[in-house]
Symmetry: D3
Subunit: 248 residues, 6 copies
Amino acid sequence: MRLNNRPNNEIRPISFELGFLKHHKSSVLMSLGETKVLAVVSSENRVPAHRYEIGGWLSAEYNMMPGATFPRKPRAISKLRNDGRSVEISRLIGRSLRQAVDINAIGPRTLSIDCDVISADAGTRSACITAGYMALVLHVAELLKSNQIKMKTMEDIILRPVAAVSLGVINDQILCDLDYQEDFKADTDCNLVASNNNQIIEFQSTAEQKPLNQNLLVEMLGVGQHAITQLLDLQKKTLLKAGIVLHH
Amino acid sequence: MRLNNRPNNEIRPISFELGFLKHHKSSVLMSLGETKVLAVVSSENRVPAHRYEIGGWLSAEYNMMPGATFPRKPRAISKLRNDGRSVEISRLIGRSLRQAVDINAIGPRTLSIDCDVISADAGTRSACITAGYMALVLHVAELLKSNQIKMKTMEDIILRPVAAVSLGVINDQILCDLDYQEDFKADTDCNLVASNNNQIIEFQSTAEQKPLNQNLLVEMLGVGQHAITQLLDLQKKTLLKAGIVLHH
Amino acid sequence: MRLNNRPNNEIRPISFELGFLKHHKSSVLMSLGETKVLAVVSSENRVPAHRYEIGGWLSAEYNMMPGATFPRKPRAISKLRNDGRSVEISRLIGRSLRQAVDINAIGPRTLSIDCDVISADAGTRSACITAGYMALVLHVAELLKSNQIKMKTMEDIILRPVAAVSLGVINDQILCDLDYQEDFKADTDCNLVASNNNQIIEFQSTAEQKPLNQNLLVEMLGVGQHAITQLLDLQKKTLLKAGIVLHH
Amino acid sequence: MRLNNRPNNEIRPISFELGFLKHHKSSVLMSLGETKVLAVVSSENRVPAHRYEIGGWLSAEYNMMPGATFPRKPRAISKLRNDGRSVEISRLIGRSLRQAVDINAIGPRTLSIDCDVISADAGTRSACITAGYMALVLHVAELLKSNQIKMKTMEDIILRPVAAVSLGVINDQILCDLDYQEDFKADTDCNLVASNNNQIIEFQSTAEQKPLNQNLLVEMLGVGQHAITQLLDLQKKTLLKAGIVLHH
Amino acid sequence: MRLNNRPNNEIRPISFELGFLKHHKSSVLMSLGETKVLAVVSSENRVPAHRYEIGGWLSAEYNMMPGATFPRKPRAISKLRNDGRSVEISRLIGRSLRQAVDINAIGPRTLSIDCDVISADAGTRSACITAGYMALVLHVAELLKSNQIKMKTMEDIILRPVAAVSLGVINDQILCDLDYQEDFKADTDCNLVASNNNQIIEFQSTAEQKPLNQNLLVEMLGVGQHAITQLLDLQKKTLLKAGIVLHH
Amino acid sequence: MRLNNRPNNEIRPISFELGFLKHHKSSVLMSLGETKVLAVVSSENRVPAHRYEIGGWLSAEYNMMPGATFPRKPRAISKLRNDGRSVEISRLIGRSLRQAVDINAIGPRTLSIDCDVISADAGTRSACITAGYMALVLHVAELLKSNQIKMKTMEDIILRPVAAVSLGVINDQILCDLDYQEDFKADTDCNLVASNNNQIIEFQSTAEQKPLNQNLLVEMLGVGQHAITQLLDLQKKTLLKAGIVLHH
């Protein structure tokens, strides 16, 4: 039995707080059950070398704050290196959100997605992608409104919505959006990043306790697609309330 | 004229949210006008070499989150070093809060004060000290309650309350608790860390645009003492609501 | 048409050179077409903190040598950090090969898998996993033979074989084991790490140019499973020639 | 009783050796009792980003040499980071000496103040500021003489003299310029950086053993101002002997 | 008696494999007995500051791979610093090969010599210089052939051949090209880098167990010169087979 | 003609100041012409892993202070790495002085030789070795006197005296102890580290502008041996004045 009798295929309660930071309208505080992440999008007028004279770029940084876990997580700077997990997740978020935006259409500009986990109860990487997409849309709306990007519509820049959900297998049961107590026990750990129309952006399935067979993997994908549909719907409604309409 | 007609000797509206983090009861989210800081206290059962077989230790880490300012502040790890300002403030917070606690009475244990600035509108270091003291009291209460520290009372460990306020001089006028717009224009920048009975823990006065004369410095100290009294009162009331009584 | 008329579902020519290094019998030089990787397994009598008094550990380091690509790849030390891609792949290799071995049965010992890419023509991460498994088996055989691990059989320690293959989609065609020219053009990039009986250890599918639909993903998985079967067979035969029989 | 019957308000014997280094005329070796510091000023034709097209900059680096203390102090590079104390003092020296010079009048040039403590017997930060001012004057004189700065007088660039002294409280007695034995026992640790006419540049008072009351703080400031007057006089005479006259 | 009855003044069997890497024709895999090194030369169109508007530059990086020794050698990045020995050898290789090439004649270009030790049985630094010279010649031939350097001959750029050999003294006996077992026991450790006509490029003699007298040093130099002649001859023949003729 | 008509085989005027630092009696300030170096020896009660249960160790750190050269040399910590030259020289000093002392006789203790170049006019590495030997003798004398090393004589620990000198060739003329103006022009750069009775500890000869022939090398060695004799004599007399007699 899951906490609060949550059905296996259901995601935890979600809330978004748009414009959470004084200095960044494109900031989103997202709660996913007890998990809280802050996603902020900002931009700089420069691009990495491999994008010179081609277009813009988008990259992400994922960070777990010291108090997000128990015991306290030491800061990256105290060891002079990012832990491997944070590096891996930063790359996943960057890859995923580059699918949301036409980086050739934004000019010589790098969009930075800062994802800080304030409180962790599993599902932090999916939450960061889901909240990051929201902040990205807010930021592009600002760039258009302030004429920093000219002669384009939202749909020229935002190619498709993006959301993510975690999945897992415990005793051959598929669970959607695991909390920490569940995640800890799972045989397989999985993340689905997807868009509308069941388009898959990234799908990762990792054996934790034991390998997985193919049928369960395909079934898990179906459960994930169902959750993504709900997340996309929630994102759309929240943006609509903030006055942003996206036609996809 | 200050924003919202605030009198020169008045601090901005303050709120505290105790137990903000799932994994750390001794976490305090403090708002000071538009400034928001998160202070978390945790402890480890080890001490630095200079405290072996003597007692415990307390240290602090101050960090500005990337979205706290505009433009975005790059993370320390991206340059492989903490910026000097953060190092300086971390040390100030540590020194100040070591005056609040009897580190010889806590056993071989290091208390870590994590101060993360979520949104910055000046006064962040004072806010971190003021909120850090609250989190420290919460943490000591937990250590006592869970018998991790035995046979002691709160007053054995918490020696005195500590709060801090920033002050500044603009055109020979003394201002209390400056916001960023004011801070930017100030000739002198000052911070007072103090306890009850006008006990001074740390007083720093720094010429920014031009030197200060002694009379203004002494006057500024008086304005600061007045603000500290209000802050200590607010801390006491807030802790009382959380069920914690301290007899000093 | 693929280079040398290679069919879409076929892997490139493979060779293994066991015991390539004077000082490490458990070293394997693997060629996969023009890709060459060197995998070496060694062990140390200590474990990370989270494994104290529980058992052993296994971790991997993936490194691209400066001359493996054109232009030359600067060394990690010259920037004082590992590039994110190497960190991500190191973690993938470690996770994958921890599924091959019972880390609770090897005593308080860390197995290090060093994977150095000497020459890169795509598929380097899969090659490292495939060759790493071989080196791991050689190393465990040595540990048993030299009585560093006592009273165990190969099958007690080696839980299952592990191999990996890369897959991709170009113009809705599924290709197996892409070379660099193909990889560069692929819409989707995928890696399958699997064991016998179609057991899936890790499956990652990443949109590069555009998202993928679910049918192609499932089809890709099938192509991958087919290639894995061939790789496992090749591993088994090669180990047999070296006098090592594994009953799974 | 202080060492050598020194009165409480008296500074230790001071000597300056100007032009101590072959390659830098603007180098000053200062002895303050047993404390020895070397201050060197040099300049580079570039400025940090926040000063582009505005003017010059001045920054300082404070470093304790390995043999300055017992036991030996490990070098910063051996831990890949500056210790917090050195960072804090570097910033204090930089802030203090930026009050001595009109950084808008020196052109796009950064003045570097290198302060190395050769031997430490407390008071090193004050000595570095006091000696650093001397080296700064020597350097500006050189820049004018060699026409690297044109059409300016010494007084255009050097705004005011700067000196610093440490103060402390032991058993409610105020001591001026403490040596290490005294510093170690002090309840309060204080530093005053000031100019002529009792202008205060930086005043820091830090509780070490216990908080301070306001009366002692004000009294301490008076003792400090007295010492500063002597230091400024000594600086002026020493520069005069070196042929440099400053009309303030 | 040496291994395989090798006479004291004889070098171990040598083989060169030119063009070992797919992406770098100027790569040389050299075996010297059981020692295996890979030398790769590549170039970049930029130079360090001290060569601006003067000419090109050449630098080298020496690296021992983790599996080259037993026990495994941790990677430089794991300690965030190169070990001192590697730094020292990198500098030796760079200095030595800068004598082979007219860096004023190659344009604003930096030649990078990457030397990776795959398997170490002593003599690695000499092998890297000897193999590095070969790779350097191959690279210059390419630069000329592809017209990246124009209007020059091989002899304009390659000033002289360079080879290196290690020497040692055990019980007052001079040995040439020591293997690890011999190196370990040697009283004196020596390296000779030289060109044709007995021209000495670098000669280093280091007491390991005890100091050396001058007669032995001079005698050792003679033995080294003899070995260098053989190495230069071997280099020349190998390059000739690859179609490269050098008239010195 | 050399500066001050110095003959080619003559070293510059030398002075030693023993016990230069308050906290370290075993500190030596050495002037060699305009070159000034400070050598300090201290010890710690621990040894590196390869010396566990065998004996002690000795290592050296060479550092050029920022004001030692013109233009100013940035500190190692500002680039988060030691420059290669400093690493190389640190190793040379360590190797050389390990020949002076019986590291098996000093117990589980590491002797640290800190060599800081205060002012550089060439010959800094030789000066550091020469001064380092003096500081080493002073330190061993202290260890014996304070009974930290027991039941040993000076001669049990100090095996032989060590001094060093630089040599160079300009226009086929051999010069001893070059200053910077000479060093800059030299075709060959050489350093001799030696003991009494012409025992050679380290001899390095490096082509700078062009290779060297063997006759000049041997002649240079003779000039160096002559200078070493003078240096050893000067060391002995200076130590004698400080009350230290060494019978070799």
